[in-house]
């Protein structure tokens, strides 16, 4: 129903990304390139033990090394417990404040215990080797079940059985409903620890002045979150911390959604030395900094004879490692969007446990708990259909929400633009679903199969989440040359936030996309924006940009109205001109209007000096700071065709068809790029990626890309086909809602189900390695 979408002139075209030229010629503006005069380089000393008490540190030899300017030890660091997650207030009750910048207790191998700032990174590194730390080793535990067992080492005081949070959500009466179910299915589905693998390392440069004010550059996804967390941990007023917005960063994917150790350590070292301090993480440090938490899901589902969900019970156990960090929120998003809200089911009970272990800490990662849930739910649907003889497409169609239903997460709103059924039927047709063979029936050594995975309900931001920030702001200013400047705190992670927001502003202003420029911003100069996360920027920041541009446009029309002697309501802007609707001759250029608004009182004309009037004076500018009206759900469906070699267990992806209901399609090439990149991440999760740790020492065994395998151009399928189903989301900017995350969530179950269809082997534990397939075939 493309006809029902809002008609636009700029949106819907794959305009050139404004940052592309700079990036292909060297990319000057990454945070990793920031250098300041007199800058020092710092390095962190990390604990080799997973659980230990520090009984003494001697850094005197390090301090004496020529070139060393400052040493930071646990006793130099404010002992304020915090939660590092950017998108919640630091003391949000739903989160756990269990971290310190440095502490005398070490809870995972790799936790920082000291830092050195020196004139070069090499000297700082050398100095670390001169620091003597005495550790008293403590018993450690690396498995969530073992951590909950009686007698397990206590990792944090007060966390009974090492459980950090333990949410329970129930609808109706699941126990009674299971009694009435005709069929009951149960299974345990496990996912592993993976890293976002942004290519630009986490890096920061922090400078201080004599007044104790900090200026911060960092590769991160949230200016205001960094300001808030840094001010909190250092015990400073927020106004003394200025965070500079990077023009762009080298990827984030949720992995830069929390304050690291590096920013507070660099800040303290800068305050000590009065010099700018830079810290860049090594890839090993990145790997042990933020990951997608592994979750084990026990899932039990009751089905009626006619193939409807009647009851669901689930228990999810999340290993958050040494600190709760994102794990306290990931578990909730996982429970709600990964399990409970996926398909309507009247009676459900779910319990989540986020469990401390002495493993590395977790983090944010696209999908935020839903990939772990979707792997369980979507795999089990396939098992149900196989066993009871239902067609998996028909089964989902029968069990889905419909357009106009109350939104399952925010029931006061409706699923106004929901097109899940269209996603399913159109993608099924494209892949050739009707010719799918029975499981394992393909002949020969290499067998083909088709599988399906869905994410029926997701978010466009965080309206409805009690503790999560969700507001945005923008400033739009018209220039005398007829262009416009847009400034917002929304960070471009690479996924095209600059392009999308400039296009939205241009559309509203009646300009071309390349006439709007994203300009400098920092926390002192622009309104608050929540992070670039939760698939929220197009929808939420987009609404704020549209509002600010709308305000600027209104002022433009008022000034133009005075000059054209027309009411602003009778004017329109297009092709750089303000026109009286219906009288094309009565027009004035945007350039002339803006110039006039900023002119001195008297302007020179061909007829000589002419007075202007005071009412028209002032820069034409619009400002917004607002929460979005809702949190509309997109829907996502993916079909994958695989070929499994029954001799080697190797899986080759042959075809991918992805359908997404996104409201208005703003930048087609950008949207496809999200889907294609999302598939790479989801495929890696399904088949190969695994951050490995030594089960005895807790040491990270995958410390670089040689040990952490992700799909290269060779393993990727030749083509990922995107189908974008447009509709008009009434609360979105020009009808748009979100896109980013579900394309990472759906590949794993789609691939798992395709493998089952090819060879009849059900693997319930990611990654699905050749060994697991061969074992399933009875060949190992």
């Amino acid at each position: 129903m493309t006809s029902s979408t809002t008609s636009t002139t700029v949106l819907g075209k794959s305009v050139q990304r404004p940052d592309a030229l700079d990036k292909v010629t060297g990319g000057k503006h990454y945070p990793v390139n920031v250098t300041l005069p007199g800058m020092l380089h710092a390095k962190l000393l990390r604990s080799p033990y997973p659980h230990a008490r520090i009984t003494g540190i001697d850094a005197s030899a390090a301090a004496k090394l020529p070139g060393v300017k400052a040493v930071l030890l646990p006793q130099d660091v404010p002992q304020r417990k915090y939660c590092p997650v950017y998108f919640v207030p630091t003391l949000a009750p739903s989160m756990v404040q269990d971290m310190l910048i440095m502490s005398d207790t070490v809870r995972y191998a790799g936790q920082p215990v000291a830092a050195v700032a020196a004139t070069t990174a090499a000297i700082a590194e050398q100095a670390l080797e001169l620091i003597e730390v005495d550790y008293e080793e403590l018993p450690a535990v690396f498995d969530a079940d073992a951590a909950m067992a009686e007698g397990a080492p206590q990792i944090h005081e007060g966390a009974e059985n090492n459980i950090a949070v333990n949410p329970v959500v129930a609808f109706g009466d699941a126990e009674a409903a299971f009694e009435k179910a005709d069929h009951i299915f149960e299974g345990v589905y496990e996912t592993q620890r993976v890293h976002t693998c942004y290519m630009e390392p986490r890096v920061c440069v922090v400078d201080s002045d004599t007044g104790g004010n900090l200026t911060v550059h960092s590769s991160m996804q949230h200016l205001f979150g960094l300001r808030e967390k840094l001010a909190f941990v250092l015990g400073m007023p927020e106004s003394k911390v200025r965070v500079i917005k990077p023009a762009y960063i080298g990827g984030g994917f949720g992995g830069k959604l929390d304050i690291g150790y590096i920013e507070p350590v660099a800040a303290l070292l800068s305050l000590k030395t009065g010099r700018p301090v830079r810290i860049e993480q090594t890839r090993y440090e990145d790997f042990i900094s933020t990951t997608r938490n592994p979750i084990r899901v026990y899932l039990k589902t009751g089905i009626s004879k006619d193939g409807r969900f009647v009851a669901r019970y689930a228990e999810s156990t999340l290993d958050c490692g040494a600190h709760a960090t994102h794990g306290a929120e990931v578990i909730n998003v996982h429970g709600m969007f990964g399990i409970l809200l996926t398909y309507p089911c009247p009676d459900q009970h779910w319990e989540g446990k986020t469990v401390y272990t002495n493993n590395m800490i977790g983090g944010g990662y696209r999908g935020y708990g839903s990939p772990q849930g979707a792997f369980a739910v979507e795999s089990q649907i396939d098992e149900i259909c196989e066993e009871l003889g239902f067609d998996p497409v028909e089964f989902r169609l029968k069990n889905s929400y419909h357009q106009g239903d109350p939104h399952p997460f925010n029931p006061q709103a409706k699923l106004d633009s929901y097109r899940f059924q269209d996603c399913l039927t159109q993608a099924a047709e494209r892949i050739g679903w009707s010719s799918r063979k029975a499981a394992g029936s393909d002949q020969g050594v290499k067998k083909r199969g088709i599988g399906l995975g869905c994410q029926p309900i997701w978010v466009s931001g965080c309206v409805g989440f009690p503790d999560i920030y969700e507001h945005s702001g923008a400033i739009v200013k018209l220039n005398r040359d007829g262009t416009a400047d847009l400034s917002t705190a929304a960070v471009d992670l690479g996924s095209g936030q600059i392009t999308t927001l400039c296009m939205i502003a241009a559309e509203e202003l009646g300009l071309e996309a390349d006439q709007v420029r994203m300009t400098y911003a920092d926390t002192d100069t622009v309104p608050f924006d929540a992070p670039s996360h939760a698939s929220r920027v197009t929808y939420s920041s987009g609404n704020a940009v549209k509002a600010a541009a709308g305000q600027a446009r209104q002022r433009l029309l008022e000034v133009a109205g005075g000059l054209l002697e027309a009411s602003p309501d009778d004017l329109e802007v297009c092709e750089g001109m303000v026109r009286v609707k219906g009288s094309p001759d009565s027009q004035i250029s945007v350039v002339d209007v803006v110039t006039r608004a900023e002119s001195p009182f008297v302007v020179m004309t061909e007829e000589g000096p002419q007075p202007t009037n005071l009412e028209e004076k002032g820069t034409i500018i619009g400002l917004s700071s607002m929460a979005p009206p809702a949190n509309p759900s997109p829907a996502t469906v993916e079909f994958v065709e695989v070929e499994v070699d029954t001799e080697t267990g190797q899986v080759k992806i042959l075809r991918v068809v992805f359908a997404h209901d996104l409201g208005k399609l703003i930048h087609p090439a950008g949207a496809e790029g999200q889907v294609e990149g999302g598939f790479q991440q989801g495929m890696g999760y399904a088949l190969m990626e695994n951050l490995l740790f030594d089960p005895d020492s807790g040491a990270c065994l995958s410390s670089d890309f040689l040990d952490y395998k992700m799909p290269t151009a060779v393993e990727m399928p030749p083509k990922i086909e995107s189908i974008f189903i447009e509709s008009n989301e009434p609360t979105g900017p020009f009808g748009a809602k979100s896109l980013s995350e579900p394309c990472v969530t759906v590949p794993a179950p789609a691939i798992a189900n395709a493998i089952y269809n090819a060879v009849g082997v059900r693997v319930r534990e990611l990654p699905i390695t050749p060994e697991k397939i061969l074992a399933g075939l009875g060949k190992l």
Partner: protein, 155 residues
């Protein structure tokens, strides 16, 4: 410890004092300010640091600066001539192959070796030529499209 060497980068000869363990990547970024070459891992696993040495695409993080004496080095800064983009740079823009862009310069340098040796590569040759260049944003599809486009435009 440091030793004076002379290396040719983008047609310009530089006299530099380098330590034996200094990588070419380190010298490019830290000594010469050629920051278009990126560090994604420093251990030979990502390809962000790819440059051309004697025409061959090489990881500069795994190359000792001392070892490139007498061998011309080309970095991303050296492929734009008189403001005219290399066909690969233009094709990466046109095909929408740039997202975060952190991998882009390294991948362009790898593809440059390919197109210099195989002017009309097939899909598999392209994919193998950039198999040492990780990208986490694009899924490589539009990168492959860009390399095809550059080959077609240079034909």
């Amino acid at each position: 410890m440091k030793q004076l060497i002379s290396i040719e980068i983008n047609g310009e000869v530089h006299e530099l004092a380098v330590a034996p363990q200094d990588s070419l990547l380190h010298v490019l970024r830290e000594e010469l300010g050629l920051i278009g070459t990126k560090k994604g891992c420093d251990t030979g696993g990502c390809g962000c640091c790819t440059v051309q040495i004697d025409g061959r695409a090489v990881y500069s993080c795994m190359t000792y600066a001392m070892s490139v004496q007498g061998k011309p080095v080309v970095t991303i800064e050296g492929i734009t001539e008189n403001g005219q983009l290399d066909p690969l740079q233009q094709a990466f823009i046109d095909a929408g192959a740039v997202q975060c862009g952190y991998c882009t310069c390294g991948t362009i340098m790898a593809a440059r070796e390919l197109l210099a040796t195989v002017p009309d590569p097939d899909e598999s040759q392209i994919r193998h030529a950039i198999a040492g260049n990780l990208c986490r944003c694009t899924g490589y599809q539009k990168i492959v499209d860009a390399i095809k486009l550059a080959a077609a435009n240079s034909a």
